[in-house]
Amino acid sequence: MVSTLTTTERQVALLLSALVALTGLALAAAGRHDPLGVHGFLILVYGLGCATVVARGYYSPEPDSERLSRYYDEPIKAGLLIAMAWAVVGMFVGVWVATLLAYPEFTFDQAWASFGRLRPVHTTGVIFGFGGNALIATSFHVMQRTSRARMPGQLSPWFVLVGYNLFCLLAVSGYLIGITQSKEYAEPEWYADIWLVIVWVTYLVLYLRTLARRQEPHIYVANWYYLAFILVVAVLHIVNNLAIPASLGGAKSFPVFSGVQDAMTQWWYGHNAVAFFLTAGFLGMMYYYLPTRAGRPIFSYRLSIISFWGITFFYMWAGSHHLHYTALPHWVQTLGMTFSVMLLVPSWSSAGNALLTLNGAWHKVRDDATLRFMMVAAVFYGLSTFEGSFMAIRPVNALSHYTDWTVGHVHAGALGWVALITFGAIYSLVPMLWKRERMYSPALVELHFWLALAGTVIYVFAMWNSGIIQGLMWRTYNESGTLAYSFVDSLVAMHPYYVARAFGGLLFLIGAVAGCYNIWMTIRSTASAAREPTGDRPVAGAPAAEPAE
């Protein structure tokens, strides 16, 4: 890894690692009477670890200029492996919290293992750890291939990847020791948020610089989506995390907004995180790996335009549908609801464009589990966007809100769409990157596909049932005009569904573990084929990479 860096890049990498370590030391000292001290220490160790890795490879020979005639794939490989590791961790904790809901004694009387702390570990682990790393890795791959240009320099992709994972580690470890700003999907505190801004702006600049070096007259659709993902997530992250630290020696901070404004900002963020992190980024993934795997042209370029601008424009307005029937003014709810309804057709256009692209390649969908992962992902994308627009309608929301239906909806999207498209992309990408003919075991890919599909279906059906039963139990009145069921009655009724949900999640987790094994064995298998796909090189004559970042 260090051997692919130039000497100047190695020096800058050492300097950056030292800066991170020093910042960690300062935080550890300032926060020694606060949980912040633990994080300061963690940052210190992380910085020193990076410095050690760079120092150990410091005197290895410099890469020759021949590298410039190839794409820079090392950070992509690392990103994919890290994403799979996060997948297993995040999904394991997911199964754990699902079990907790059915059998609360599984907290083992430990504060760190309580539901409130483990649940964000699960969400952050799968969304930011698994999803985020997969997005970063695939975006590095797609932007180079569709621009036919190598990334400018070798250091900034590593900075983005390694820096982003420091953020994820701070987030997840913070929840366990009780650090959170209590904003869903934006739990990390101020110092982690500032660090993510630095990392994310570097990511944006890297993406733009690669696009600027492109050897194609047009920018391919996948890049529109990746760019929207990077740009909007930066805006969302910054605005929703505007906060004032209670002290520089403590983890606690207070948001600048309060009351209903804070709620609205949070859900503007929350819903657009779904839109631009979990949708736009993964649509970018789909737009590259699905047509390459199917070997078919995109069904309609014009439809791509409608979907892209529809999604980017309408999603921005939809966040207030999370706050129906609350203190939020009625008119804001109306706007959130109507824009959610208008969002449906652009979303379905994307799903339709993907599925219709498969026309002429359905026999491949039948035979190839990797392509089938992506096909089913597009179906779940269509299902969950329909469900989302439906649930955003106020009277429907009156039944669904605060119930497990929401949880089922999220997982139809997160398991059925996000995770399946990612597994499809990873199974396409691993043989390409490691130059193998195919995955080590296509049968294991097939097994993973069925485990993932069965797990998702069991999960989603369990939550649909429990959510609707819950919603109905909460609103049923008896003849004497009082509530027919107590809250505990509804919990008792949920128990069998919670058991089923944990089982569905377990199947999904087992599939991911099988995927890890398959990827590992693919990498370890001898590169007998040692084949390089024809044309998998940047266009010669692309400007030489500048050494410094």
Binding site: S300, S304, T334, V345, Y477, Y485, V488
Partner: protein, 291 residues
């Protein structure tokens, strides 16, 4: 660079661009997409006309239907209250004993009281009032502060050791922690207390119980009574009835004497209406009577 090619499968031309093997068909957007898109726009537009929708500086468009979520909630609450009005008025007017003697009214009280109890009291006392470690059972006939209707209603209103100004206050001293009794003395008095409820005693306990009797008379009888039957004036439990809040085994009683007890029950006056509290009183008395 831009060379359109015809896709053999569909017959459409590509846009003429190619990215690492990916091409796109230059196919018009299907008409049905436009149709659906315009339908959703029409729906949104209609909704904006009918409902509160767009901000206008300090105000907003009210919508032709004049719907307001706060007014609608108030209406819904009024409708629900009207459905309960007749029998709730009866609960409010009649004395508790008269309600309990009226089977029709009791059927309604049991139905509504069940959810009211489970949502507010069940967390500590259990959904069926059986209690749990640290929280008294309401169905065993053992009452800390008294089991008549007036007393139960008052306990619900002000709570025990709560933040209510008139809260019932009950405290068992920490005889060991605060150095009032030696360890041996505590051990002896625990043996004596266990003998009160005719618990089977080990031989060593029998000796201790004799010594414990004096210690009990000097230290415990003020609240729990000479005979250990407790006192509802200070919320001191009866130690002879075999009913235990914190457990009747030796280590539990030892812990109670050593570190004291000060159980808490919240006051419900600010949280539940008078008629809801009355309904709960009826329900709780009914729970106890069913045993």
């Amino acid at each position: 660079m831009a060379v359109e090619e015809r896709d053999a499968h569909t017959g459409y031309l590509t846009t003429g661009h190619e990215w690492n093997g990916i091409t796109e068909l230059n196919r018009p957007v299907p008409k049905i997409i436009w149709l659906f898109l315009l339908s959703t726009f029409a729906f949104a537009f209609l909704w904006w006309v009918l409902m509160p929708a767009w901000p206008l500086g300090a105000t907003y468009t009210r919508g032709l239907l004049g719907v307001d979520q706060r007014a609608r909630l108030a209406d819904d609450l009024a409708v629900a209250a009207a459905r309960r009005a007749d029998w709730m008025a009866e609960i409010e007017a009649k004395p508790v004993e008269a309600i309990r003697a009226d089977p029709a009214l009791m059927r309604l009280a049991r139905e509504s009281g069940r959810t009211l109890f489970a949502d507010n009291c069940g967390v500590c006392h259990g959904a069926t009032g059986g209690g749990g470690p640290g929280y008294p059972s309401l169905v065993d006939g053992a009452w800390l502060w008294g089991g008549d209707a007036k007393t139960v209603a008052e306990t619900i209103r002000v709570g025990i050791n709560s933040d209510h100004a008139e809260s019932r206050v009950g405290q068992m001293l920490a005889f060991g922690r605060d150095g009032i009794l030696e360890r041996q003395a505590i051990s002896d008095v625990v043996s004596f207390v266990r003998s009160l409820s005719d618990a089977p005693l080990a031989p060593a306990e029998k000796t201790g119980a004799a010594a414990g009797a004096t210690i009990f008379a000097d230290n415990c009888a003020a609240c729990h009574g000479e005979d250990g039957r407790g006192s509802t004036d200070v919320g001191a439990p009866d130690l002879t009835d075999g009913s235990w809040i914190y457990g009747g085994d030796r280590p539990s009683i030892f812990a109670s004497v050593d570190r004291g007890r000060q159980g808490e029950m919240p006051a419900w006056e600010a949280r539940l209406t008078p008629v809801q509290r009355k309904l709960l009183t009826v329900y709780v008395l009914d729970l106890g009577a069913k045993q």
